[in-house]
């Protein structure tokens, strides 16, 4: 019996109608099923270390994937553009790779279909920098996380994005968990991952003021931290642009010309780009891009997660200077709350964030929120801090993780196509692991590139990027001096967050300029406070209009929408 027959037998025992075959070194599943859960479970059963990956092509009956959201733009602006490396995808992975690639004297283009970088998972996650002690050994997840975790102090200083290392807490409601925690401590010590400290209720109460009565003990891992995930991505993108990379927003890849295992042209809505090497960092669409490249050997199955942002004022009764707090759940409890991960976090901006939950879905781009997820997240974390209530919520958002059936990162050269590097299946702890992934992938791309040309170091590479100074964090004297030089820093526009006109103008003048309301919000937090922009949105529109010379009816929230539908001429 061959390996593929064995897998087929296993799957057919449960799902007799599914056809299991071997295709280009992968396990391919075809057929039709009525329930998405079954599609997933068949996919999971097909995982095997002896194949490149699972191609789960089982159709879900009655389901059609909504078409990929395309930019409205349609022109030939970049037709015939030539580059050494084309990075597809402007998430934290794509942007950090682009930045690392600018260390070489090569031409780098990054294409992103949205109107800003970091609009998908890189913005829609909790920003936790994980310790990863729970990850299995020998996974790429653990390898890259362990290498990245210790890079954050230097990176955040170089790229000027906020980072805190307040530690990661895991609480337990049962003394039966003590042996598990002790085993983790041994692992932490042996692999030098983190210090791991046991904490009793009294110590924990200093961190969680209204600690649930059910909590028995907890552990603190000092290597846990937190970043602003989109802030980090934007910082990487700015630094890449500073060092000569070109970032094309609103640019979608629609197909590829592949000849003899080599990608020779990449079709976009803005013309055909001719790269020597392609880096596939396309997130939930990575397997679609792989298919374009005739090199698909994994399948992305989307997994939704919803996070809640709570008012800064609620911090006092929920969390006190901790990076993240999560509950170690027994299997029984896990089933009751329908979730595995997630926690309570103190963000770098001092908000409280709770979540995420974890829901499998066939939709790749559905970021709409549901009341079920909100309730699930709230009820789960009320297990830790029972005083949390819906009244504290100021915002919530849903992201879609791009998981593979192997549930590990895919960081590999093409299997059939020779000039592509795949960076796929990047889910948690993908953000935390991005810095090390970027270093390796840039090197992998350069290895391919050396077949075509000589690659030297970029002598002019500057690793330092300056973000927008948050003037509310300066002393009153420093503020006074700054305002005297530039009075715009004295004109407060966003009252909830105390953001000045000067900072908004600075955001518009960063290397990667995104003159939308959300673009500004994500760069300087204007509109991110408890009024959610109700007061400052019209004022920010005025600043964009003035600075960019855009008429009101061309200013958007996120790129292709319009905030104002008509202008009264009088």
């Amino acid at each position: 019996m061959t390996r593929i027959d064995r897998i087929a037998k296993k799957i057919n025992r449960v799902y007799p109608h599914i056809v299991v075959s071997e295709k280009d070194g992968c396990v391919r599943l075809t057929g039709e099923m009525d329930r998405w859960d079954d599609v997933l479970s068949a996919g999971k059963m097909a995982v095997s270390g002896h194949f490149f990956g699972v191609l789960n092509d089982i159709k879900l009956a009655g389901f059609t994937q909504p078409p990929i959201k395309r930019p409205v733009l349609d022109d030939d602006r970049y037709d015939g553009a030539v580059c050494d490396v084309l990075v597809i995808g402007g998430g934290v992975i794509g942007c950090s790779i682009a930045r690392e690639l600018t260390r070489y004297n090569i031409k780098v283009i990054l294409v992103e279909k949205q109107s800003d970088v970091a609009t998908m998972q890189s913005a829609r996650n909790d920003g936790a920098i994980h310790v990863g002690i729970d990850l299995p050994n020998k996974t790429k997840k653990l390898h890259y996380l362990a290498r990245s975790n210790c890079m954050y102090e230097q990176l955040s200083a170089q790229l000027d994005f906020p980072f805190t290392r307040h530690g990661q807490y895991v609480l337990s409601t049962s003394w039966w968990h003590l042996p598990i925690m002790l085993a983790l401590k041994v692992k932490a010590m042996r692999q030098k991952i983190t210090n791991l400290q046991f904490m009793g209720r009294r110590k924990l109460a200093g961190v969680v003021p209204n600690l649930s009565k059910n909590v028995k003990f907890g552990i603190l891992m000092d290597k846990g931290g937190c970043v602003c995930p989109y802030g980090m991505t934007i910082a990487y993108a700015d630094n890449a642009v500073q060092n000569g990379a070109k970032i094309l927003l609103n640019t979608i890849v629609t197909g590829m010309d592949v000849t003899d295992g080599v990608i020779i042209g990449v079709h976009t809505n803005r013309g055909i780009i001719k790269p020597r090497v392609v880096v596939n960092a396309a997130g939930v669409y990575a397997d679609v891009i792989a298919e374009y490249a005739q090199d698909r050997f994994y399948t992305i199955h989307p997994r939704r997660g919803t996070n809640l942002i709570l008012d800064r004022q609620s911090k006092s009764h929920i969390i006190n200077d901790a990076g993240s707090i999560s509950m170690y759940l027994s299997r029984k409890l896990r089933q009751r709350v329908h979730s595995k991960g997630g926690g309570i976090l103190q963000t770098v901006d001092d908000n409280v964030l709770v979540g995420p939950d974890s829901v499998e879905t066939p939709y790749r781009e559905d970021h709409s929120t549901t009341i079920e997820s909100i309730n699930a997240v709230m009820s789960k974390h009320a297990l830790t801090s029972p005083t949390m209530s819906n009244r504290d919520i100021i915002n919530y958002f849903t992201g879609v993780r791009s998981a593979t059936y192997e549930e590990d990162f895919v960081i590999e050269y093409g299997k059939k196509t020779t000039n592509i590097v795949h960076v796929a299946g990047i889910q948690s702890p993908g953000l935390s692991a991005a810095p090390a992934i970027a270093i390796d992938v840039s090197k992998m791309a350069v290895v391919i590139l050396t077949k075509y040309r000589i690659v030297l170091a970029n002598n002019k590479f500057n690793p330092v990027r300056k973000g927008v100074t948050n003037i509310s964090k300066l002393s009153i004297q420093e503020r006074d001096e700054l305002i005297r030089i530039n009075p715009n820093y004295g004109e407060i526009v966003c009252r909830c967050e105390g953001i000045s006109k000067g900072e908004i103008l600075d955001a518009l003048h960063l290397p990667l300029c995104v003159p939308t309301l959300d673009g500004i919000k994500r760069r300087v937090r204007a509109g991110m406070g408890r009024c959610q922009g109700a007061f400052c949105q019209p004022l920010i529109m005025d600043i964009i209009k003035e600075d960019r010379g855009l008429p009101y009816d061309r200013i958007s929230k996120k790129g292709e929408d319009r905030v104002i539908l008509s202008v009264n001429k009088e």
Binding site: K69, Q313, H367, S368, T369, T370, I371, I374, N390, I393, I394, N395, Y396, F397, S472, I476, Q477, R479, D480, I483, R484, P487, N488, Y489, G490, E491, I492, R495, C496, G498, S500, L517, R530, C531, Q532, G533, A534, F535, Q537, P538, Y552, S556, K557, K558, G559, E560, D561, R562, V563, I564, L565, S566, V567, N568, E570
Partner: protein, 418 residues
């Protein structure tokens, strides 16, 4: 750095701040008034409809007209007016308060003996009422829509749904219709309208705009701009009734779903907040539990008429211009159908006779009686008709008989008559 010293610092120049400043100055105090916007008047600047001032002036004025009366007095007075000036922090010092601020001239600080917070309120957002779905443009508060239309001449919608029948929602329904937009309807989760009856008549009925009670928006659609909203019926407990969803196409969802007092500065001084009003706890002079620190207008509790907002400023301004005597509080116990009662504490050491009290009921009551008692002795009682949660009640209570042995209770009861 800019340095100022003053008796009284007023933060906010809406109707509450203006009248607080004016009344303090008229009593001979020196006043600094700080406003974060470029001009005085607060939210009244954008309220170009009429109906303001009926109580105070016996006239129907527009918002800007109403504000202008106080502004005219203020600019001809001794007050120091700091416009486009944003207070960044407030701390209590040995002799009073120190407020740090920034404006285009630089940073600075103001030392004040007394402080009056007139910071107004803000609107509840779509996320605070847990509307689900995508995150498109076109979902905005009524106040933001009003700003665009009335102050900037910009139309943010052509066809919209209004959620919430608060006064701003009703007024915006009319305003949007007059500006050529189609208002598909005003939807209210409660079984009764939230705004004043006169606004329901003048803003909706007169323009043929439908009002749907016991309905709410549960979901929004549209990846970029709003394309539609999902509306559901709700039961008597305001819970969504399944299978009543209806999709309505529109390009904007305008929200008038409640106002919340702005208490960020109050929090810097750790002033106690009343859970029912979401504003600071105050005595009959609108002084908070911290001596020499006042909170007036909508920053204390959301009023339905600007006239009462001004009145609270007047009371506080006048009181702040005298020296503060040691206070002795009695804390009225609330019974029956009271949603809240202001003042939350009564200073019985003052020589006041009649004090102004405000309250709201928890539910609609046809015939009610409000009673203020000291132990078993009735201090005040009044019968009221048609008491609604949406309409604030105002009574004058003689407290001259109360002293530091009083145990005060306030009760709002329904009267059952044959």
């Amino acid at each position: 750095m800019q340095q100022f010293n003053t008796d009284i610092l007023v933060i906010g120049s809406g109707p509450a701040g203006l009248s607080a400043a004016n009344s303090a100055i008229s009593q001979g105090a020196t006043v600094i008034i700080v406003e974060r916007e470029r001009s005085l008047g607060g939210i009244l600047k954008q309220c170009i409809h009429d109906g303001f001032g009926l109580v105070r002036y016996g006239q129907k004025l527009t918002g800007p007209e109403y504000a202008q009366r106080d502004i005219d007095v203020l600019i001809h007075s001794s007050a120091t007016i700091l416009l486009s000036t944003f207070v960044t922090s407030i701390v209590k010092s040995e002799h009073g308060f120190i407020a740090e601020f920034v404006n285009r001239q630089g940073a600075g600080n103001i030392r004040a003996n007394k402080i009056i917070f007139a910071t107004g309120c803000r609107e509840r957002t779509s996320k605070q009422i847990l509307i689900q779905g995508t995150n498109p443009s076109g979902v905005m508060t009524a106040g933001t829509a009003q700003h665009y239309i009335n102050l900037q001449g910009l139309m943010p919608t052509k066809r919209c749904v209004i959620l919430g029948s608060g006064d701003i929602g009703l007024i915006m329904a009319r305003r949007l219709t007059l500006e050529g937009a189609k208002v598909v309807g005003v939807y209210e989760i409660k079984a009764t309208p939230s705004g004043l009856t006169r606004n329901v008549v003048q803003c909706l009925n007169d323009y043929g705009i439908p009002l749907y009670l016991s309905h709410t928006v549960t979901r929004v659609f549209g990846a970029d701009r709003l394309t539609a909203v999902e509306i559901c019926r709700v039961d008597e407990h305001m819970k969504v009734i399944p299978d009543t969803a209806e999709i309505i196409e529109c390009d904007a969802l305008i929200l008038s779903v409640g106002l919340i007092p702005e208490t960020e500065m109050h929090n810097q001084l750790s002033l106690p907040i009343d859970k029912n009003t979401s504003g600071a706890i105050v005595d009959q002079h609108f002084m908070t539990l911290m001596d020499n620190c006042y909170s007036v207008g909508n920053a204390t509790h959301v009023n339905d008429l600007v006239d009462y907002v001004s009145q609270s400023g007047e009371i506080a301004g006048k009181h702040a211009s005298c020296s503060c005597q040691p206070r002795f509080f009695v804390r009225p116990k609330l019974n029956g159908e009271l949603a809240y009662f202001i003042p939350q504490v009564i200073d019985v050491s003052s020589s006041d006779k009649d004090i102004v009290c405000y309250f709201r009921s928890k539910r609609d009551i046809k015939r009610a009686v409000i009673t203020v008692k000291d132990k078993d002795k009735i201090v005040y009682t009044k019968r009221l008709n048609n008491v609604k949660p949406t309409e604030m009640q105002r009574i004058l209570v003689d407290i001259s008989k109360l002293d530091n042995t009083s145990i005060v209770s306030v009760e709002l009861e329904e009267i059952c008559e044959n």
